[in-house]
């Protein structure tokens, strides 16, 4: 490590050359706490002269850097010596204009939604397995699961889009009665689930509830 008197002010306070005034104040406070006379942590580590020298070093660093004018002058002298790059010095940006409207806001593309529903419907129409299942009188959770698998929709996707907890969705598909919510909520969840798959909600929900004996 370089001796303190050979360090530049930024090194002495252990801050980056583009540190905010607030950070410089904080760094000085920390360094002062460490090196001041009553500090426990540095007790007996330095002789009186060493301590005085260190304290005067960090004080000078602080006083130079906290004043915008003297800091700018100091930065220029560092740049002249090749110790600092122009681009890396601190600039006060609080007085510069900033944009308040973000014009590039992303919008939900409604066309892709239409496409999705058409695609799901065509998949359901083309797959005879789905048709067979849906014409049953009573539907078990595993039937719903099979339909969903055939439509190539993941459970996670449904949970994300409908905001239904995934453990409830799993309980529905497993037909796990203990994991199901009260009937009122269950109906709502089932409707959302079926609607997301673009199927006929009334028939399927009734068939499912009939199967678990809660209609």
């Amino acid at each position: 490590m370089k001796p303190l008197r050979q360090q530049n002010h930024y090194e002495a306070l252990e801050v980056h050359p583009d540190a905010l005034p607030l950070e410089i104040r904080r760094a000085y406070k920390k360094a002062f706490e460490l090196y001041q006379q009553d500090s426990f942590a540095s007790y007996s580590f330095f002789s009186e002269e060493e301590r005085k020298e260190i304290l005067s070093c960090i004080e000078q660093a602080y006083l130079t850097l906290i004043n915008p004018e003297s800091r700018a002058a100091y930065d220029r002298s560092l740049i002249a010596l090749g110790l600092l790059e122009e681009g890396k010095r601190y600039r006060d940006k609080t007085h510069e204009p900033i944009t308040i409207y973000d014009l590039k806001k992303t919008r939900v593309d409604s066309r892709s939604r239409v496409k999705r529903s058409d695609e799901l419907k065509s998949r359901a129409a083309q797959n005879p397995a789905i048709h067979d299942i849906l014409t049953q009188d009573a539907l078990a959770g595993s039937d719903l699961q099979e339909v969903r698998m055939n439509l190539q929709v993941s459970l996670e996707e449904i949970a994300e889009k409908t905001n239904i907890r995934i453990d409830i969705l799993r309980a529905i598909e497993k037909g796990n009665l203990d994991g199901l919510p009260p009937l009122v909520y269950l109906k709502g969840f089932l409707k959302s689930y079926v609607r997301y798959l673009e199927l006929d909600e009334n028939i399927i929900v009734n068939a499912y509830l009939k199967n678990i004996g809660r209609h």
Binding site: M1, P3, L34, F40, S42, S44, F45, E49
Partner: protein, 313 residues
């Protein structure tokens, strides 16, 4: 655990009464409970009392049996404790002149401690900065400092760490070179004391860059730990980190703060009962703090030797 290597952790602190033996005993207790074969060695030869802290008031054998050749190997002086995985080489019931260990005897102990095969060997060092203490401390690079948040104790920590630092410079340079180096450093900076190691390294870098690199490597290999003991509620919780910062910044040594251990009056009563504190009071803040220290030490150890870890995996 046959292929695992032995970790040696010397525990020192400069000042007497800062809790070195208590910390050593507790750490040994925790390591043994975690299933590591752990050996505690009391090398506070003039004033040994680790045996009392771990609940072996009258150890049958002690380290002086080895020094005076009553037993052939150091392994034979190991006594078991009440915990299955915890073993002790006591420093109790020594001859009265044992505190002034001759150099060869000390080297013999050092050599033989390094040969013992345990998972962890903890050395409980005495107070002070005599060569005996320092050489035991330098048996491994992973020394642990124990200090209390009091100026006296902190002063002694700095004293001890500087002594270790200079002893290392001595060892690398041999005495003759050191004297000429110190002379040169003093000549250049008549005002400064040789106590400033930065200055020494600086001068040496100019005189003999090759040796200087060697020394920097030797000093860089140290990885010390610092535990702050007997912290009262009103104490600054940050002191340990600040001490580490000063040492890292001004001595360029690696040191980690592994935790604060709360002060507890019941430590006194546990010692009076000659029982391990953690066994008597397992649900106190102090016990929790010690557990945390142990955890930090083990994870630091893992981080320090990733290569080893790979071999084991």
């Amino acid at each position: 655990m046959e292929n695992s290597i032995t970790h040696i952790w010397p525990i020192g602190g400069g000042k007497g009464g800062s809790g070195k033996s208590f910390f050593t005993g507790s750490l040994g207790f925790l390591l043994a409970k975690r299933g590591y074969r752990t050996l505690l060695v009391d090398v506070d030869l003039g004033a040994a009392n680790l045996h009392t802290i771990v609940g072996v008031p009258h150890p049958e054998k002690s380290i002086s049996d080895f020094i005076s050749k009553r037993v052939g190997t150091l392994e034979e002086t190991v006594v078991p404790t009440f915990l299955p995985n915890l073993y002790l080489i006591s420093g109790a019931m020594n001859n009265l002149d044992i505190a002034n260990l001759a150099h060869e005897q000390k080297m013999k102990i050092l050599r033989n401690v390094a040969k013992l095969s345990y998972d962890y060997i903890l050395l409980d060092l005495g107070a002070g900065t005599s060569f005996n203490t320092i050489d035991f401390f330098m048996i491994s690079n992973a020394g642990i400092f124990v200090t209390t948040p009091e100026p006296t104790s902190i002063e002694n920590i700095y004293r001890l760490i500087r002594s270790v630092y200079f002893r290392k410079i001595h060892q690398v340079l041999k005495t003759h070179n050191f004297k000429s180096l110190a002379g040169e450093a003093e000549k250049r900076n008549p005002m400064a004391t040789v106590n400033n190691p930065d200055l020494l390294l600086h001068v040496m870098n100019e005189l003999d860059p090759e040796k200087s690199a060697l020394l920097e490597h030797a000093l860089g290999a140290f990885h010390f730990k610092l535990a702050l003991n007997q912290l009262r509620k009103q104490d600054n919780q940050n002191t340990g980190a600040l001490i580490c910062k000063i040492i890292e910044k001004h001595l360029t040594l690696k040191i980690n703060h592994i935790g604060n251990v709360s002060f507890d009056d019941r430590v006194h009563s546990a010692v009076c009962k000659k029982m391990p504190f953690m066994e008597l009071y397992p649900y106190t803040q102090t016990t929790l703090d010690l557990r945390e220290c142990c955890r930090m030490l083990l994870s630091a150890e893992e981080a320090a030797s990733p290569a080893l870890q790979n071999v084991v995996d």
